[in-house]
Symmetry: C2
Subunit: 269 residues, 2 copies
Amino acid sequence: LRSAMAAWARAVRGLLLDVSGVLYDSGDGGGVPIAGSVEAVSRIKASGLKLRFCTNETQATREQFVKKLRGLGFDISVAEVTAPAPAACRILKERNLRPHLLVHDDLVPEFAGIDKANPNCVVIGDAAENFTYANLNEAFRVLIGMEKPVLISLGRGRYYKETDGLKLDVGAYMKALEYACDIEAEVVGKPAKRFFESALAEMGVPAQQAIMIGDDIVNDVGGAQQCGMRALQVRTGKYRPCDENHPQVKPEAYVNNLAEAVDVILQQM
Amino acid sequence: LRSAMAAWARAVRGLLLDVSGVLYDSGDGGGVPIAGSVEAVSRIKASGLKLRFCTNETQATREQFVKKLRGLGFDISVAEVTAPAPAACRILKERNLRPHLLVHDDLVPEFAGIDKANPNCVVIGDAAENFTYANLNEAFRVLIGMEKPVLISLGRGRYYKETDGLKLDVGAYMKALEYACDIEAEVVGKPAKRFFESALAEMGVPAQQAIMIGDDIVNDVGGAQQCGMRALQVRTGKYRPCDENHPQVKPEAYVNNLAEAVDVILQQM
């Protein structure tokens, strides 16, 4: 592990951290921190490395999300978070799109400044309990009624781990609507290149000097590598042993958890 | 239209009819017959042509389904219906599969003779209101917990029309589970070749002498043609004008409704 990283890790100036499955496992009551992750974040900040939290979580506004993580003991602020909903809002404004929202109730305030009358697109996020049969039919009818249906998806994750088990993520429902309408969604959030690039720009570090640390082999590791970043996969969160045989994607290294990743990176510096 | 059919229609000995969108539009209170369809079925029976109803509907047992259609005035019996659930039961028994069912409550009796303890596959049908967030997560967890997940889908329709609007069909939810588990479902029902072949065998007519009449360009028309049948698309049910520009599938002819299809076919005989 250490020798695999030695050659390039000395040049590292910034870290992008996935949040759910890396910092904490989400679930009822806010979830629980993953052992060693609170201290790992503090050590990154003390090291002088730049740091940015790059999440696809769309069950809350960034303010609520950060409040929850601070409650779990993490040193994190809203200004350090790159998340899909604000990125989607920029796209909606650029293209004069008025969304029908199929999102979590707690995410709706992120779209407060957006005109939602007479919708000409659908925005889908991790709506969780809002993924009802009725709500999916409604989003479908909005799409199928358009001459050229526009579906914007806040991420394309397959599933994630909560304290009470695995849950289907937005990507599964995105696929359902894509298939029903015979369209392809535009993905905002990881693994979209534009999303990683905005996180890097906000951090002020070029891709070649940044490491992404995540639990998702495709959306974290694969997405970051396609932008020219290095990437580590943690064996926490949604990690499964079969990820290590993924036919397309191979991280620079596997680490047991964020704490070990930080150990290894700081020792190279 | 008539000249397009003249060359081969004289040899026709049997008709396969899709039901929802051809005989009637489903919906609350049982739905409503499509104008002229009750008489069209009677005329087919009086003509001496063989007839079989080939449906992907999985919201009820065949007994309930036939009772509903008889209530709408159709001359139909259980023995004339080819439906996905009995076909799935044959496969489950052949392969010693014990299903976790994600289906409509009213379909469950079709699986009465099947061992469902300690499931080693998931069977998904048009579960309608049973497509809850909780039920989809449960089916997903059963699948992702298997070494080789087996998902059997009762059809792969995108959507269908009820009296109160379009509804997502089983295919959309099948795609969600396929994507989440990175697997491909086995489809029972139209457009599976084996399903059409069993309908033809039950009718006792070879594919070359049979016509499929349906409202679904892919699952009715395309599926039947791949089995060597001719196929007509009706402009009722889920038919949309853009179906007539489908890049892959072209029916032998379009007809306004079942009544017109029967007019044309009987005139050729």
